[in-house]
């Protein structure tokens, strides 16, 4: 069978969808177009048991296409306003994929400020729900531009989401509800499943070498034993993605909308 042509965004959507495999009946929250399409693809294909919302206040069993809906009529199955999302967070049956501004070697994340806290160089959104999400349920990360600015050398400037840095925890705090899933970037898929939760590269996108990833990461990375190439989207997955994203918003998520299969010299860093 001929390999279908696909974009890097589509490869990342498929990689993101794997984050929610075998999670059970959790609320799948993909924040941003690629994570949301990833969650939707997971529900349509391998994990129909996932709970999903219309990104506003209602539960749906059929993921809602992103962007203007035309004649599409959402089919609602329940109600999930913000307050109930909070209930889900604290109860733990949720897996979110978020895009923090910084991530460190301990999987701590930052969505608040870059620079000095009292007079930041850049003030972003604020910690939002990151402290509560990160300590209560599984979280994955989405990084559209893999760089040392995101994967910082030291600790993130403002720890908004918890990680595995022992000094941040007391023995009496419960750490067993937290978990870090995968990190999907424009170069690779990573996890924090090495020894002592060290970051590992699990798969490399076509044309990307481990060395390229390491050079653009502020902390040392391990190679997962099973390190290979990130699985390519199948024709069926591409059809579903096109249906879930009829306006091709996915083409606007990554700078230059790169092709999925790139030669090393075509990989933009």
């Amino acid at each position: 069978m001929a390999t279908p042509d696909f974009s890097l965004a589509e490869l990342m959507i498929v990689a993101a969808s794997e984050a929610w495999r075998d999670n059970g009946e959790v609320l799948a929250s993909g924040l941003g177009i690629i994570p949301r399409l990833g969650a939707s693809l997971a529900k349509v294909t391998h994990s129909p048991e996932l709970l999903m919302t219309d990104s506003e206040a209602f539960l749906v069993e059929e993921p809602i296409p992103v962007g203007p809906r035309g004649n599409y009529e959402p089919k609602y199955s329940g109600y999930m306003p913000f307050e109930r999302v909070f209930d889900c967070v604290w109860h733990g049956r949720r897996h979110a994929m978020v895009g923090p501004t910084q991530i460190d070697r301990w999987a701590q994340s930052n969505l608040s400020v870059v620079g000095d806290y009292s007079k930041p160089k850049v003030a972003m959104l604020g910690v939002r729900g990151l402290p509560g999400n990160s300590i209560n349920h599984l979280n994955s990360f989405f990084v559209p531009m893999h760089s040392k600015r995101v994967f910082v050398e030291g600790e993130v400037d403002m720890v908004s989401g918890v990680g595995f840095k022992p000094e941040r925890w007391s023995d009496l705090m419960r750490r067993d509800f937290m978990g870090i899933g995968v990190t999907v970037t424009n170069l690779c898929v990573m996890d924090f499943a090495g020894l002592d939760n060290a970051a590992r590269v699990v798969s490399l996108h076509p044309g990307v070498s481990f060395e390229m990833v390491q050079e653009n990461t502020g902390f040392p990375l391990l190679k997962a034993e099973e390190l290979g190439e990130t699985p390519h989207p199948t024709a069926e997955q591409l059809d579903i993605i096109a249906r879930l994203d009829p306006h091709n918003l996915r083409s606007k998520q990554l700078k230059g909308d790169p092709r999925g299969i790139r030669k090393p010299e075509e990989v933009e860093l």
């Binding site: 007079k119 729900g129 509560g132």
Partner: protein, 291 residues
């Protein structure tokens, strides 16, 4: 019983240094007609408590905020609230930055009249580092778990915008999400509600009565404010005004931006405000955002 007031009467109740909370969420169903009235007043040194949208940026730009208690400030479609960002980066804003859920817990503790509620959110993060007033406690039970004791966020005054209200203080929120307004209302000594429509007395069916999310005994005053959430959204009636929000946001890049905004959209009455935004008909027809 008639709790109807004007927004000027409501704002006259504010005193310098008060802690005030806002209902709504980001650019959604914010009591903006009242915010504009606060901007017209000389009240200052406020502690503002909000799931922040443009009310936070505007009050910051006007120099009225002494301290901001928040989980985020955003215009959604424009992710970064421009004047919040400006004030934050200038280092002029004293902040208590909280997890969204902790924020809810603080309001709930206030509404329950307890000093704190326990939570895990915030532990092992810089929310604790930067808020030394937040303490942890140890569970008195066998588990002995260490938890964050989220203190009550007691409000002097709360402002909430709703779809319908009556002169008695009964309210209906008919949008898809009621957000956390019931907690904001209950956390406050006085809650003033602005409403798209104020009726003599709501006469509801069982089905519509369910859109009432907090009882009138929490409501001190009711202000009729048609299109009073503009430029934020007020589902199911109208969406946020992207043109207006963009103009507001773009202005933040210029030194005179805020003064220009005030001249155009604050130094006027609400009738003129609606006219300057294309008129009531146009605002009513603003499409609801698609998520």
């Amino acid at each position: 019983m008639n709790k109807q007031m004007t927004s000027a009467q409501v704002v006259a109740e504010l005193r310098d240094g008060m802690t005030i909370g806002f209902g709504g969420w980001g650019p959604r169903r914010k009591p903006m007609a009242i915010v504009r009235e606060i901007l017209r007043s000389d009240v200052k040194d406020l502690t503002v408590v909000a799931y922040g949208g443009p009310e936070v940026g505007m009050l910051a730009a006007a120099g009225k905020i002494r301290k901001l208690i928040f989980g985020f400030a955003t215009l959604d479609a424009i992710p970064l609230e421009p004047y919040f960002r400006k004030a934050r980066q200038a280092g002029t804003l004293d902040v208590m930055e909280l997890d969204e859920g902790l924020f809810q817990w603080g309001l709930k503790a206030a509404g329950m009249r307890v000093p704190f509620l326990p939570a895990r959110a915030g532990l092992a993060t810089d929310v604790l580092t930067h808020n030394p007033e937040l303490k942890t406690i140890r569970s008195p039970y066998d588990d002995g778990e260490e938890l964050l004791a989220m203190p009550a966020l007691n409000l002097d005054v709360a402002f909430v915008h709703v779809n319908r209200a009556d002169r008695l203080g009964n309210t209906l929120v008919t949008g898809h999400d009621v957000y956390f307004d019931q907690h904001v209302a209950r956390a406050a000594d006085k809650c003033f509600v602005s409403a798209e429509v104020v009726e003599e007395k709501l006469e509801l069916t069982k089905a519509t009565a369910r859109f009432n999310t907090f009882e009138r005994s929490l409501v001190t005053g009711v202000v009729e404010a048609p299109l009073g959430a503009h430029p934020t959204s007020c589902g199911p009636e109208y969406g946020w005004d992207m043109t207006h929000l963009k103009e507001y946001s773009d202005g933040a890049r210029e030194d005179s931006g805020w003064a220009t905004y005030v001249e155009k959209y604050v130094r006027c009455n609400e009738d003129e405000y609606r006219e300057r935004n294309g008129g009531a008909e146009k605002i009513s027809a603003l499409p609801l955002p698609i998520f």
